[in-house]
Amino acid sequence: MQELRPTATLRALHDAGVAFILVGGLAAVLNGAPVNTFDVDIVHSRDTANVARILTVLEALDAIFRMQPERRLRPNASHLASTGHLNLMTRYGPLDLLGTIGSNLAYEDLVSRSVELDIGEGLRVRVLDLETLIAIKEELGGEKDRAVLPVLRRTLEEKRKQELH
């Protein structure tokens, strides 16, 4: 059975010193939204040193592109330096590396819109904030994005109420 181990994926990236921001469904979960997802989505810094660190992690995780898995195509430095999206399968489950999200927002644009969360055992992960997650999903406007918006908006409202008390 393929087991999903998002914590192990985040641990591998963290321990290798990769600069990244967790986005997508898992970021929503860590922000307290009761939603489901099956992949880990990150926006990574595309600077040369960071790309090299990511490649080391991807090799350790045996990452291949999910498209045409039988060909076992592996991502390279030029893939990681691009603004595109890499949909990978690793030994710990699906991992999407996103050069940019929304209106061409890169890692550097998103750092100020993220929070560092402690997820236990010394693991601290930078996670996109709920306000930005909502703004990006509103902007994308696809059916899948619209479907999750009510839960994200209500989670944000509840969070703000709790912060007031």
Binding site: G120, V127, R154
Partner: protein, 54 residues
């Protein structure tokens, strides 16, 4: 047994979101949310595999 207690037993937003579930998630620290999610998703996968082809 009938009850006259007027306190509501559910709390949904006007667009149908279960607010009790959100409050429960928010009551957990982020690490617990992640553990719970991981466990939950793996149980779904196991159930799906048990029923593959049906």
């Amino acid at each position: 047994m009938a009850t006259d207690d007027p306190a509501p037993l559910t709390d949904y937003s006007p667009d149908g979101v279960d607010l009790t579930l959100i409050r429960w998630m928010l009551s957990l620290p982020p690490g617990e949310r992640l553990k719970l999610f991981e466990q939950h998703v793996n149980e779904i996968i196991a159930m799906r595999e048990l029923n593959a082809g049906t």
